[in-house]
Amino acid sequence: MENKLDAQYYERLTRLQETDFALVELTLYLDTHPHDLQAIEQFNQLALKRQQQACEFESLYGPLLQFGHSFSRYPWDWKEAPWPWQV
């Protein structure tokens, strides 16, 4: 289950979780402060950063998103462990 996880896995995962946390936080903030231009700029910047981070992560550890929002290698790798509660 953990055979394909190297030391970098947790490091990269943490970096992605950090960016995503900022994006969640900015999303909720902007839901009630829709005219904060600076926050929107920060949101868009981080959205771009998250795309790059997720792309790198997926190339090393497999798809993050289901239903065609991530690409698959051969054989089909979406269903492969580890699942989030296993790491």
Binding site: Q17, D31, P84, W85
Partner: protein
């Protein structure tokens, strides 16, 4: 629709097998002020709340499912290596004979989750006040849970969840202000 993302919102680590703590944590899984109740409450209220605050209910409701998965991960990790005897000693004997190591949507006393835990009044202010109360109750529960363990890894994840309740409560209070302001504006015209 929803797209599943194969990662937790925040890391969940535990430093020992601790079925006793798992029994307490299940309160936030299938209890009245738990994450399942929160997610279902907000996502259900979305349909009839004014447009100005639908987005907030949608997004907080979605985040609650990420929190539900974190609680499930805690319970799973704390119990996966426990023997039936350890489960019984932790007060989970009744759970074991019914569910083995499976998780179930019940509270810390074993009472199954019920839709009676949540409200949908159709009145935006009443609904949002309920949501604020729910967040504050969940925040208090997380504090009691943090006080019940000396596992610093577990405490770290619980503190993250406690802080999220604070933010959700703040955003819901802003939503109330937005609706009140909107109502006042309409009166002038």
């Amino acid at each position: 629709m929803w797209i599943y993302e194969k990662k937790l919102q925040y890391p969940v680590r535990v430093s020992k097998c601790d079925p006793r703590m798992a029994r307490f944590l299940i309160e936030q899984y299938g209890g009245a002020d738990g994450e399942l109740a929160a997610a279902l409450r907000y996502l259900n209220q979305r349909y009839t709340i004014p447009d100005k605050v639908i987005g907030l209910l949608n997004d907080i409701g979605t985040e609650e499912f990420a929190h539900l998965e974190m609680i499930a991960t805690m319970v799973y990790k704390l119990t996966k290596d426990a023997t039936p005897q350890q489960l019984e000693e932790a007060g989970l004997g009744d759970h074991f004979v019914n569910h083995d190591h499976a998780l179930f949507y019940n509270n810390a006393s074993g009472v199954p989750w019920t839709a009676a835990y949540i409200q949908a009044k159709g009145d935006p202010i009443a609904d949002l006040y309920e949501d604020i109360a729910a967040e504050e109750k969940a925040r208090a529960t997380y504090q009691w849970l943090i006080d019940m363990t000396d596992d610093v890894d577990l405490q770290d994840s619980l503190k993250f969840l406690r802080e999220r309740e604070v933010i959700h409560s703040l955003r819901f209070r802003e939503a109330v202000e937005i609706l009140i302001e909107d109502r006042e504006t309409k009166k002038i015209f």
